[in-house]
């Protein structure tokens, strides 16, 4: 494993993208930063600009307005970047599968590396998911 990849896995900066979620996953993502979970231990930081991001945390059920922006934003991330889909909405679209405003599942729009199910997934689950992702990438 090259040094750069190693460094990437030790310092993944996450950017949070909501595509029409119920806010629960988003709040739990923020929760990961707070004293009880403190993902800065693993070198993770929540960044404000997508140009600094290494990991995209996508939440929500991809509604029409968001989908257009999501495609553009995915282009803007400097590669390599990993996509984490958080919550049931991003995985199976849960309740919203028949909604008139949520036409496409996330994995039809951008390639997803890992799904973290739950409504909302607990912060522990999110951290575990990202750690698993890191192991997966590190192992390959």
């Amino acid at each position: 494993m090259s040094l750069k990849l190693k460094a990437l896995l030790k310092s993944p900066w996450v950017f949070h993208l909501s595509t029409g979620s119920c806010n629960n996953c988003d709040i739990e993502i923020l929760d990961c930063l707070t004293p009880r979970f403190d993902i800065e231990r693993f070198g993770m930081l929540l960044t404000g600009s997508i140009k600094h991001a290494d990991v995209l945390l996508v939440t929500g059920s991809c509604n029409r307005m968001s989908v257009e922006r999501l495609k553009g934003l995915y282009e803007q991330v400097p590669k390599p970047c990993l996509i984490v889909a958080i919550g049931t909405c991003t995985g199976s679209r849960g309740l919203f599968i028949d909604s008139y405003n949520c036409p496409v599942p996330l994995d039809k729009i951008i390639p997803v590396d890992v799904y973290i199910p739950g409504c909302p997934p607990k912060p522990e689950a999110m951290i575990a998911g990202i750690v698993k992702l890191i192991q997966k990438v590190g192992g390959s």
Binding site: H16, L17, S18, T19, G20, S21, C22, N23, N24, C25, D26, I27, E28, L30, D31, L33, T34, P35, R36, L46, G48, I50, G60, S61, N63, R64, M65, S66, R69, L73, G94, L95, F96, I97, D98, S99, Y100, N101, C102, G118, C119, P120, K122
Partner: protein
């Protein structure tokens, strides 16, 4: 000279959910504001129309993660208003406990985020650390951190066990000193005062005209609280104060929320200590044709649900109006003439919840969702078990 627009959003660190605010600025001064919604619209109102009444509570819970008690309660009240019927006293108490718990955690969340938006990350971390305690209490009571799934038309889904009550009371008591400490740290900080006082003033008349709700209106001197105006739940059973301040600026909105947290703790404690015995569920069989209105005081203001039934087990129309829907337009009245830096905190002071605002209207076509509802119940049950095991609670 052409105008200059500074966008806030849709993907902006200020906003947890996507939303676009375009500030027209002159230098750093905001001269005009426009809002573009729709990044969060999922059509829940339409979806809800396809679900049976029991399952709709799950959908409305997913209107918003932070208001995951307010919407179900308003919805169940709307359904009960169709009959009309009253639920049992114990169910009312349990509902009140859950709602007040949510109010505390929502206000703490707001306080933390407001600190974060001001670059005051210490407040953010402290408030959210405290919030974790409340979430633990909620997890003991309901089995879940956020979406509690406690409500159903006619009562509540889960009872509160007698042995959980002392644990919860102890935890609640333990957060009071920290809360008072944070209150002092926040409200006596001269820099915060300099930053918040006189900023984003919503006048009394504007609050009336925009029909502002909740803390947003109460900070402007409009004494408006559904819990007092149109009593429901167990709020009549005890004494508590409605917090009203007069200035309408961001500082006052913070004061209202912080003082409300302390009131909420008192209400919650009273309810836990005086929980009456009795049935928790009235087991509704058939909903008669008709229409009902349910409105309750969510942390952000009045949540309003309107349900129309045609006598089948599904609503014909379910209309959801979240408090932010009424509060967000006041942004326009408060932000103009302020600077961009203030614009962000003024926006935050409304405590906007966009997913509520763009909710899902549910009206629909099939029992497909049923599966989902059960799924969620199962999920939340599993989680509760895990949590309980970990915390050593039986």
């Amino acid at each position: 000279m052409g105008k200059t627009i500074i966008p806030i959003g849709p993907y902006h660190p200020l906003l947890e959910e996507p939303e676009l605010f375009t500030l027209t600025v002159d230098g750093e001064t905001v001269v005009d504001i426009d809002m573009r919604m729709g990044y969060n619209h999922r059509g829940i109102e339409k979806l809800s129309e396809g679900l049976v009444f029991d399952n709709s509570t799950f959908v409305v819970e997913r209107i918003c993660g932070i208001c995951s008690t307010s919407h179900p309660w308003a919805f169940t009240r709307a359904v009960e208003d169709i009959f009309p019927m009253e639920v049992s006293m114990r169910a009312k108490y349990i509902r009140t406990i859950i709602a007040e718990g949510e109010r505390i955690h929502s206000h703490l969340l707001w306080l933390g985020l407001a600190g974060h938006f001001l670059g005051y990350n210490t407040v953010y971390m402290w408030a959210w650390k405290l919030r974790e305690e409340i979430l633990d209490v909620m997890e003991i009571l309901s089995g879940n951190r956020n979406s509690y799934a406690m409500f159903k038309p006619g009562g509540v889904r889960r009872d509160i066990k007698a042995e959980d009550i002392p644990i919860c009371l102890k935890k609640i008591d333990s957060i009071v000193p920290t809360l008072i400490m944070i209150k002092k740290a926040v409200l006596d900080d001269p820099v915060l005062h300099a930053r918040l006082k006189g900023v984003g003033v919503l006048s009394y008349q504007d609050a009336i005209d925009f029909s502002a709700l909740g803390p947003t209106s109460r900070a402007s001197g409009v004494a408006r609280d559904v819990r007092k105006d149109s009593p429901y739940g167990a709020y009549q059973e005890m004494d508590w104060n409605m917090i009203v301040t007069q200035n309408g600026d961001v500082l006052d909105k913070a004061v209202v929320r912080i003082l409300e947290m302390i009131e909420a703790i008192n209400i919650m404690k009273y309810c836990l200590e005086n929980l009456p015995d009795g049935e928790i569920d009235a087991c509704i069989k058939d909903v008669p044709p008709g229409e009902g209105i349910g409105h309750i005081e969510a942390p952000r203001g009045e949540t309003f649900h309107y349900v129309k039934s045609d006598g089948t087990n599904r609503p014909v129309r379910h209309k959801v109006r979240a408090p932010t829907f009424m509060n967000l337009p006041t942004y326009k009245a408060t932000v103009i003439g302020q600077t961009i830096s203030d614009a962000t905190i003024i926006l935050a002071a409304i405590d906007p919840c966009y997913c509520c605002t763009e909710r899902v209207a549910v009206k629909n076509d099939g029992g497909k969702m049923l599966y989902n509802g059960q799924d969620l119940v199962r999920l939340s049950q599993e989680k509760t078990e895990r949590m309980r095991r970990r915390m050593g609670v039986k």
